[in-house]
Every structure is written in structure tokens, then in C-alpha cells.
């Protein structure tokens, strides 16, 4: 099922629209059976990259391989793609749309009908089976779209901003379904700018900004590379130590704790010694990993919307 353990490999891909470079020399691998977060601010080139992966557009330079093969209709059948901009045929019955999308992915009719019933039942949409799209609420439409993405039991699921517009209950539900895919050793790629969701779901991430890759790797690796120099602190007294710029580079005050970023070359042990020497009562001293959100903001900077 998974060739060389790699589901997707993007190699030196560049895509230009006229003078505008949407994606520049982007390379990454997605390992089979992993949940891969594709992160970046709006306009970073996420959707363009995803469109190249699913074969809607072709890269100007570089290559993309899926399951060890270049993109082809056969490979496309193994992908489930949920675009960011979604829609359904307005005047068509739910079941007929799903049948069509299944047929396009090469699912035989009898199988398709069984799967449609099972998924509609799971999504609690059975009674809407013969209703037209226009009769459905927006949330229901999103569920139907999601069903159309997974009907053909794809090995690779690519979801572009899957949680946008979903209510919290449905977000939880979707996460549950993604978990099942993970259990079944299928690969999931999703793009998002919601760092908390990414942090919760992803094994691996890539962060791109202004058409280029900024960082990538497993979530743990990424966090570790950023996590050595922050301490969450709860103290009484000894505040003057925090003003010492040889030890502390930056502090962020919260209601009941202070996040302290250590200065270059300083270490946490040194800070703790200094605090105690200054007579501080330390009730909490914890080395913390930065949140993905912090990393995102640090890397992408101020020009971020909705992050």
C-alpha cells in the first residue's frame, strides 16, 4: 500500500502565475500513515501546492510523486481531496451527487450505494438522502462534501482548511474520523492556519511563508529546536532578576505566570539559582516548549491575518 513508506514526495517544485511566484523550490516528503500539517499564513502558497499535488495544475519546475509514481488518473483515484472552496450541485439529491463523485473515482455502483448509506448514517444524514442541496443547512452540506471526499476509501486524504466554518461539535467529529484514518495507516495531509488544531493532530508539519518553506519535520523535532530557552515562572519577589538582560531576553506576563525567554547563552539552571539568591519564592518553574502558534508568529512575523 505504501511504497517506501512515503506517500507523497514533493521535489523542488516551483509554480509561477505570470510574474508572481506562488511556490518556490518547495521540497518535502509525507510519510505513510502520518498526519501531516501544512501550515502557513493566507497567500503563502498552500492551496497552489495542494492543487499541484492532486493534479489540478502542473508545476512549472520540479516533480511530485504520489505512492512513488507521477500523478495519473490511476493515482488520483487513491486521493481524497476536500478543497477549501467547496460546493455541491444545487438542485441534485444528496445520494445522486455522492454516487456521481464515487463513480468519478471509479467506485462500482453497488459498493458506492452501500458506502453512501453507511456514511450518511454515521453523519446522521440518512433522512436527508433524497433531499436536494438547497434543502440542507450549511453544516450538513459540509458533511456531505466530506463524505464525497472519503467515499472511495482513499489512501491519501488531502484536506484544505477542513475545519473552517464547522461548529465545534462537527470539528470534534471530523477529528474522530481523521483518527480512524490514522489508525488504518492512511495518510492525511491538511492545511490550516489554526495552530492549536495542528498541534493537536499532526505528527509532522511544514510551515511555508511567501512561497517558500520556512521549517518542517516532526512536531517534536520542530518544538525541540525552539524549546530550549523558555521558562514558565510563578514567583513572589526577586523580580529584579528578570531585568537582567544577560540572563533574560524577553518576558511575557500572564495573569498568574510569567513566560521568560532566556538570553543567548544563558540557561534555565542559571536563572533558577539567581532567583533563589535574590530571595524569590518560586512556586512554579517549568521549562516549556513553545506552542506552534508562537513558532508560527515568530517565523511569519506581523503580517499574518486570522492566525
Amino acid at each position: 500500500m505504501t511504497e517506501n513508506g512515503v506517500s507523497l514526495s514533493v521535489l523542488g517544485v516551483t509554480k509561477k502565475f505570470g510574474d508572481f511566484t506562488a511556490v518556490e523550490e518547495l521540497s518535502f516528503d509525507v510519510r505513510a500513515g502520518r498526519v501531516f500539517g501544512f501550515l502557513g499564513p493566507n497567500g503563502a502558497g498552500k492551496t497552489t501546492t495542494i492543487r499541484m499535488i492532486v493534479g489540478i495544475t502542473a508545476p512549472d519546475e520540479g516533480s511530485i510523486e504520489l505512492f512513488g509514481e507521477p500523478i495519473s488518473p490511476k493515482v488520483q483515484d487513491r486521493i481524497g481531496y476536500l478543497p477549501e472552496e467547496r460546493g455541491l450541485y444545487k438542485k441534485m439529491k444528496v445520494v445522486e451527487q455522492l454516487r456521481y463523485f464515487a463513480a468519478l473515482k471509479g467506485v462500482p455502483r453497488a459498493d458506492a450505494d452501500k458506502r453512501i448509506d453507511r456514511w450518511l448514517d454515521r453523519m446522521k444524514l440518512s433522512e436527508w438522502k433524497s433531499k436536494k442541496t438547497t434543502d440542507l443547512s450549511k453544516g450538513m452540506q459540509q458533511k456531505v462534501q466530506f463524505i464525497s471526499t472519503v467515499l472511495h476509501d482513499p489512501d491519501l486524504l488531502i484536506l484544505d482548511e477542513p475545519f473552517s466554518g464547522l461548529d465545534p461539535v462537527n470539528v470534534e467529529f471530523m477529528i474522530e474520523v481523521l483518527d480512524e484514518f490514522k489508525q488504518a495507516n492512511k495518510t492525511v495531509i491538511f492545511s490550516t492556519h489554526l495552530m492549536e488544531t495542528a498541534e493537536r493532530l499532526c505528527h509532522d508539519i511544514i510551515l511555508i511563508n511567501k512561497s517558500r518553506k520556512v521549517l518542517g519535520g516532526s512536531l517534536r523535532e520542530v518544538k525541540e529546536s525552539y524549546g530550549h530557552d523558555r521558562v514558565a515562572l510563578r514567583i513572589v519577589g526577586g523580580r529584579e532578576v528578570l531585568d537582567d538582560s544577560t540572563v533574560v531576553s524577553h518576558i511575557t506576563e500572564h495573569a498568574d505566570q510569567i513566560d521568560v525567554d532566556l538570553a543567548e547563552g544563558a540557561d534555565a539552571q542559571h536563572l533558577l539559582t539567581k532567583l533563589i539568591a535574590a530571595g524569590a519564592v518560586v512556586s512554579n518553574f517549568e521549562k516549556v516548549e513553545p506552542s506552534l502558534n508562537d513558532i508560527f508568529i515568530e517565523q511569519v512575523g506581523g503580517g499574518v491575518e486570522n492566525a
Binding site: R51, V54, Y81, G87, Y89, A103, L104
Partner: protein, 450 residues
């Protein structure tokens, strides 16, 4: 191929399994029938007989008038008018109306009254009073000098709008006066009628092999075929545009493009919608055939049907080929427009260039009927865009040499290949462009770019 058929069936079912398709299919011939039958039916509703008083001091006109307006004479005249209507196309609106009137006939009841030697004024006021009281509907005062040039026949009626009745009276009166004039001049009316009979011109078309064939109904048959192709092309072109715009508007295009090649998608769409169009056309042609067979058994329309041009199976095959040529030509154009615009409304604004091309073709086909062998007929029936509307008419009027048909089909198939290629290029880029309508230079760039 598998995906192509999936798209094809999807598009076909989407159209054919909708109640609007059934309604449209049934409604179109019904509407045609209604336009033909309803006015005639309404005209044929005869009111009550018009009570007519004829004041004829000479007593020369009244007996003749009564004779001319007897039910037998009216029926005879009706039959004659129907014959004329079938034979030729009436020249103008007015001519057509009086012909219809003659076909209908109308009923008059003569009311006899004695006036003695009362002066005309007294008679008139007496009749006016009777009319006002509702005892009579109309009166006709015949002058003393019946045959003179300045003779004035006064017809006063409360049913002035009954153009059918008035026409019948006018005809009968004219005939009566004419007969009287002849009698006065000692001319034998029967001999005159015999002498002034119209000649019968038997018009037949000569084929290139020198064979004769009837041409009476050629114009009408060509018109029907031309209109049928034109309407189907217009309807199904717009259908194509609608489905393309819907998939763009709803972003379904993105899912489609991640599942199949744009060319496959586009071709599946064109063929699926085209088959739906053929289904509808087939139902129409089939029912037209059934209707004409039914009518030919039912009524005495033998002479009428004989004048319908012979349609051979080969011609039907050619018509089908040209319908498909027209369909693919215009469907590709409409698909291109659909993928460049953002909404259906915007699309209909940009639908006018192909519509004008189609209309021009239809107008050319009228010229082709009149002269199927001219150089102009050859060129328009060979050129792309116009051939689908002009060649079937040309074939109907006179079968062109086979090489000309082959040339025309070849040129058009090439044109279609080019158009579909261009359209699928615009389609694959345009379908993913949201938010704004593409400009012509942009579309040009998409076509040139790989």
C-alpha cells in the same frame, strides 16, 4: 474512458430525468399545434345568425344575393378557399384574413320587410329604430343605379367587428352585382366564368439528374427543419453553458479536476448533453412522423402530403450528422464562455456572439432554399458555423454532389476539433479562476500557453 462515461451519464441523467425535460419535450409540439389550431378554432365559432334586412327597390340584387348566400354556395366557396390555401402561400396579412374568412363561412338570416314607396330617409330611420330595438342586426340598402360607377351600397351593422361575416357578405354582394351587370349587358355569366378561369401552374423542382419532384411544400419543410435545428442548438448550447457555470460557481470543478482530465470531463459533458438533445429531437421527429401518418389515414390530406418533399433515410442520416456538427460547434463555444464568466447571468450577456452566428446561418438557409446551386449556397454550406443550418436545407432542396457534402463535413469536423481543443484549454484554467470574469487577452493567453 470509465470517467468519461461517468461524466456522460451524469450529464445525461441530470437533464433527461428531470420533469422540466418531459414538460419541455411535450410542450414544444403542443405549443406549435396550439399556434396552428387555436386561432382557427376560435374563428370557427359561429355566432348567432345575423338578421339582415335588404332594401332593394330594384328587386334585382336581393334574389341573387340570397342565392349566393345559401348554405350550399357558402360551403362550396369554403372548399374552394381551403384548396387555395393549401396550394399557395397567401401574400399578405389582409389576404390571409379574407381567405380565412372565406374558409369559415358565416350565417345570415334574411328578414323580409315591405317598404312600399317610402323615401330612403324614412326607411333608414325605421331600420335604425329596429336595429336599436334589437329586432334586426344589420341592413343593406341597394341603390337604384345598381351597376353605375358611383352606385353606393349602404351596409349598416351592429356587428361591425364580425370581419368574417362582413367578408362573406361582401363577396356575395360583389358576385350578385357583377352577375346583374352582365345580365344587363346581355353577357352569359356562365361563359364569362368559364373564360376567365385561372390557369393551373404545376410547379416541380428539377433535380440535377433531371428528375421531377414536387416543390410546393419545400419552403415550409425547409423552414421546419431549419427552425428545429436552430432551436435545439440554442437550447442545448445554453444548457452546456449553465452546467459549466454551475460547476465553476459551486467550485465543484476543483473536485472534478482532481478526479479526471479536463479534456475527458469536457467531452463527457458535451456528449452527455448532446445525447439528451438527440433524445428530445428524436421524440419530436418520431411524434411528427406518427402524427403525419395518423393524419394521412384520418383525413383527406392526400394531395397535401404528396407535396411534402420526399425524405429518404440517407437524408435523415445527413440531418443527424449536421445536427451533431452544429451541436458540437456551438456547445464548445458555449462551454468556453461558461468557463470564462462567473455567473449564469453574465454568461447570457456573452451568449450573443454564438447566437448571432446561429441566426445568420438560419437567414442564409432562406437564401439557400431559393437558390440551392449558387456559389453562395456552396460556400455557406461548407463553412463552419453556418453549415449545420444551411446544409440540411440544401440537401432537402436539392441533394448536392457527394464530394461537397464530404468536404463540408470534413471542414466542420476539423473546426470542431479546433474549437473543442481551444475550449478545453480555456476550461481548465478558467474553471479555477474565481471572483472575476476573464478578459479576452487573458483567454488568449490561456489558449496559447501549454
Amino acid at each position: 474512458m470509465r470517467k468519461f462515461t461517468a461524466v456522460l451519464f451524469h450529464e445525461y441523467k441530470k437533464i433527461v430525468l428531470k420533469w422540466t425535460f418531459l414538460l419541455g419535450t411535450l410542450l414544444f409540439p403542443l405549443m406549435g399545434l396550439a399556434f396552428a389550431i387555436v386561432p382557427a378554432f376560435i374563428f370557427s365559432i359561429k355566432g348567432e345568425a345575423t338578421r339582415l334586412v335588404v332594401v332593394d327597390p330594384t328587386n334585382k340584387i336581393l334574389p341573387r344575393l340570397k342565392g349566393n348566400m345559401s348554405p350550399e354556395r357558402i360551403a362550396e366557396r369554403q372548399k374552394q378557399a381551403v384548396d387555395e390555401a393549401l396550394r399557395g402561400v397567401p401574400s399578405g396579412q389582409g389576404e390571409q384574413m379574407s381567405q380565412t374568412a372565406r374558409q369559415m363561412g358565416s350565417v345570415f338570416a334574411f328578414v323580409d320587410m315591405e317598404f312600399g314607396n317610402k323615401p330612403v330617409e324614412a326607411v333608414r330611420s325605421e331600420l335604425n329604430a329596429k336595429a336599436a330595438a334589437g329586432e334586426i342586426d344589420a341592413y343593406l340598402i341597394v341603390p337604384e343605379n345598381i351597376g353605375a360607377n358611383d352606385a353606393k351600397y349602404e351596409f349598416r351593422t351592429r356587428k361591425a367587428g364580425d370581419f368574417i361575416g362582413n367578408e362573406v357578405l361582401k363577396d356575395a354582394l360583389n358576385e350578385a352585382v357583377r352577375a346583374q351587370r352582365m345580365a344587363d349587358a346581355n353577357i352569359d355569366a356562365a361563359a364569362v366564368r368559364d373564360i376567365s378561369r385561372n390557369v393551373t401552374i404545376e410547379t416541380k423542382a428539377l433535380s440535377d439528374k433531371g428528375e421531377e419532384k414536387d416543390s410546393d411544400m419545400l419552403f415550409i419543410a425547409s423552414l421546419v427543419i431549419g427552425m428545429m435545428i436552430y432551436i435545439s442548438l440554442a437550447i442545448y448550447g445554453q444548457v452546456i453553458m449553465g452546467t459549466v457555470v454551475e460547476e465553476k460557481e459551486t467550485r465543484i470543478a476543483e473536485i472534478l479536476f482532481s478526479s479526471a482530465r479536463p479534456f475527458e470531463l469536457m467531452l463527457g459533458k458535451l456528449v452527455g448533453v448532446g445525447l439528451a438533445g438527440l433524445t428530445q429531437l428524436g421524440i419530436w421527429v418520431g411524434s411528427l412522423l406518427a402524427l403525419s401518418i395518423f393524419l394521412s389515414r384520418q383525413a383527406d390530406l392526400g394531395p397535401f402530403l404528396q407535396s411534402v418533399p420526399d425524405i429518404t433515410p440517407l437524408m435523415v442520416v445527413y440531418f443527424l450528422v449536421y445536427f451533431l456538427i452544429g451541436y458540437f460547434t456551438f456547445a464548445a463555444i458555449f462551454a468556453l464562455i461558461g468557463s470564462a464568466v462567473t455567473t449564469v447571468q453574465e454568461g447570457s450577456q456573452f451568449a450573443f456572439p454564438p447566437m448571432i452566428l446561429m441566426l445568420t446561418g438560419l437567414y442564409f438557409s432562406f437564401a439557400v432554399i431559393r437558390d440551392p446551386n449558387s456559389a453562395m449556397s456552396f460556400w455557406v454550406s461548407t463553412s463552419p458555423f453556418f453549415a449545420p443550418l444551411t446544409m440540411p436545407v440544401r440537401i432537402l432542396a436539392e441533394m448536392p454532389p457527394f464530394w461537397q457534402i464530404a468536404l463540408s463535413v470534413g471542414v466542420n469536423v476539423l473546426a470542431i476539433a479546433g474549437l473543442v481543443w481551444v475550449a478545453s484549454r480555456v476550461y481548465r484554467v478558467g474553471m479555477l479562476m474565481y471572483g472575476k470574469r476573464a478578459t479576452v487577452p487573458e483567454i488568449w493567453k490561456w489558449i496559447r500557453k501549454v
